[in-house]
Amino acid sequence: MNMVKKIVSKQIFIPCAALLLLALFNLINDPSFFKITLGHNSDGDPVLNGNLITILDYGSELAILAIGMTLVTAATGGQDISVGAGIAIAGSVILRLLCGSNSHPTELQNPLIVAFIIAVVVSMAFSAFNGVLVAYFKIQPMVATLILFTAGRSIAAWINNNELPIISTNCDKSFGYWGNYIPGIPIPTPVFIAVISVLIIMLVLKFTNLKLYTQSVGINPKSSRLNGLNPELIKITSFVILGVCVAICGLIKVSRLQTINYSVVAKDIEMDAILAVALGGNALSGGKFSMWASILGAYVIQFLTTTLYKLDVRSDALPAYKAIVVIVLVVASAPIVREKVGKFFKKFKSNDSKGGAAA
């Protein structure tokens, strides 16, 4: 009994349970959901196909975003809703630098690494702007990021003069590797990018004070200040880290399609990222967090999305179902509900023990 309680009370239990539930549902509904086949893509390179691979592939972007979103949530007690717009900006910057003024270039104008680094810097700058509004002007994070949410896609379109640059395979083949497959390796590249990102953040959390400082600022900024921390700086740092994550996602997104559609790219991804953090059992009001739980949460969300697609849910109706999941999650994790349920169980238990004693 104690063992069960110990496992249930662990934070990572929530996403694990959700994952198991979804897996079980799919197993009953259609066992072929888990089939993975080795096929060949149009270039004749070996690639793995199957729903699980899709989940790993598309879940990777979400996992990378969840890293930054967890830190922002923990430090500020709010969420950044401009990540979708940020991805559009980062992607637009990359394409602009690769294509120059010509929207259908025959060769790349700048090396990819330069384009990517500049995109990271731009993305960090936008995130720092959000961070300054939150930290120094004390505006609620969701409202502060609303500014970029409104303007972000417009800025992205403006960067490329509203043209849609396309990097065709004749121009450069290797650009597509980042979002698809590297020839000869049957696993999608975003999975590797996600693994590397997760490794880096885990090392950072292990060997620096980032986790401790972020949590203490999230729990109580005033007492953190009295303990010699600089809450403003830590809040901005968390936003800047999210900026880096956003730029990486931007690279993956534009590399997948080799072009960009400003109004559609990464649409509604902020909802999924916030959902991943919530599903990981992290308090959305800030404070303690578990990075592993958030990352697992991201893959669970993608699992849910793929399952819904499998059930023939149209992509534009998808948000309605996800919204129900969110509401169920937040209601279940609300302190008042927990207290009530806890009381109910206690009553149940005491009745039970009384009954036992009487017998």
Binding site: G78, Q79, I81, L133, F137, K138, I139, Q140, M142, V143, A144, L146, I147, L148, F149, T150, A151, R153, S154, I155, A157, W158, N162, D268, M271, I274, A278, L284, S285, R314, D316, A317, L318, P319, A320, Y321, K322, A323, I324, V326, I327, V330, V331, A334, P335, I336, V337
Partner: protein, 348 residues
């Protein structure tokens, strides 16, 4: 004069800023941009095109005054349009049933969200974000494609125009055209006035301010904080339903892309109108001017030749940012003044 300025309450100070900004902007437009802005109809069109936005923003202001936020309003508007359109054309409903549907949807969203936020104490942003996605998703489930409504009674209602004598102007062909407003504008103005009086003189209205200003002290004053919050969301939902119908009357169609980004425009309007995000400060008249300022800026931007769609997005964001920072400065100044006042009191 200076003393009077200092003693102005936050609500009035922010309201004054908004009205002055709007007046200056419109005058500049009239003086420098000429013809288009000089006809009264241009001014009336600000109302005609934004009647639903005015209603949404009013609802949002109520919620913001109590210290919450509701971003589901745009989604609810789209859902109402689509449901009414489907009801009128595909299910053989009439104007009355469609109105009832609009009110019902708004009320349902308000009740559920209000309950979750006020009684279960869940963050308003998360609840209403889910509400927004739910409404948007449901809109496409109700019907996938946009379509125009053909129902005769409704078309008659849609095309009803109220002419205003004396404000007409001659068009390019030299024909005199009467100035007009749509029915939606009348509804919007009635709602603005009703809410203004409610906030100023009714008990519920004062409770909104008290709860937004300081929950703890409101509780100590014997105000039922939870119920007050609940009412603010119910009212906001109901107004979103009405706004949906007004939008429907203006557009005459149902479409999943209706009222895209309306929640952001409404929040921006409320903020520009001097409603504080932290709660307790705000004015419905300010919100009205917020909507007008926002759309005047859009008109100006498009009339000086920056017609590309991205400019409006960027200008709205810049304006929002500016007003947020003004608010933040007003707040910090007030806090500084408050603590300074305490110190002098302690010294004396």
């Amino acid at each position: 004069m200076m003393k009077k300025f200092r003693s102005m309450s936050d609500t009035n100070l922010l309201l004054t800023i908004t009205i002055v900004v709007f007046a200056v902007m419109y005058l500049c437009a009239v003086v420098f941009l000429g013809e288009g802005f000089r006809t009264p109809q241009t001014f009336l069109n600000l109302f005609n095109n934004n009647a639903s936005l005015i209603i949404i923003s009013c609802g949002l202001s109520l919620v913001m005054i109590t210290g919450g936020i509701d971003i589901s309003v745009g989604g609810v508007t789209a859902l109402v349009c689509m449901s009414c359109a489907v009801n009128l054309d595909l299910h053989g409903g009439n104007v009355v049933t469609s109105m009832l549907i609009a009110l019902g949807i708004g009320l349902a969203f308000g009740l559920v969200q209000g309950f979750l936020i006020a009684y279960l104490d869940i963050q308003p942003f998360i609840v209403t974000l889910a509400g927004m996605f739910f409404a948007r998703g449901l809109t496409t489930i109700v019907h996938t494609d946009p379509f125009n409504v053909q129902n005769e009674d409704f078309v008659k209602l849609r095309d009803t125009r109220i002419t205003i004598p004396g404000l007409g102007s001659t068009n390019r062909k030299g024909i005199y055209v009467d100035a007009y407003i749509e029915i939606g504008v009348v509804i919007a103005i009635v709602i603005v006035l009703a809410l203004f009086f409610m906030l100023r003189w009714s008990k519920l209205g004062r409770n909104f301010y008290a709860v937004g200003g300081n929950q703890q002290s409101a509780l100590m004053l014997g105000i039922n904080v939870k119920r007050t919050k609940f009412f603010s969301y119910v009212l906001c939902g109901l107004l979103a339903g009405i706004a949906g119908y007004v939008y429907f009357m203006h557009a005459g169609s149902g479409s999943p892309s209706h009222a895209q980004g309306a929640e952001m425009n409404a929040i921006a309007s409320s903020i520009i109108g001097g409603t504080m995000l932290t709660g307790g400060v705000g004015n419905i008249i300010g919100t009205l001017f917020g909507v007008l300022s926002l759309n005047t800026i859009k008109d100006i931007v498009s009339s000086i030749g920056l017609q590309d769609a991205w400019w409006t997005g960027i200008t709205v964001a810049v304006m929002l940012c500016l007003f947020l920072i003004i608010q933040s400065i007003v707040m910090t100044r007030k806090n500084a003044k408050g603590s300074a006042g305490k110190e002098t009191a302690a010294q004396s």
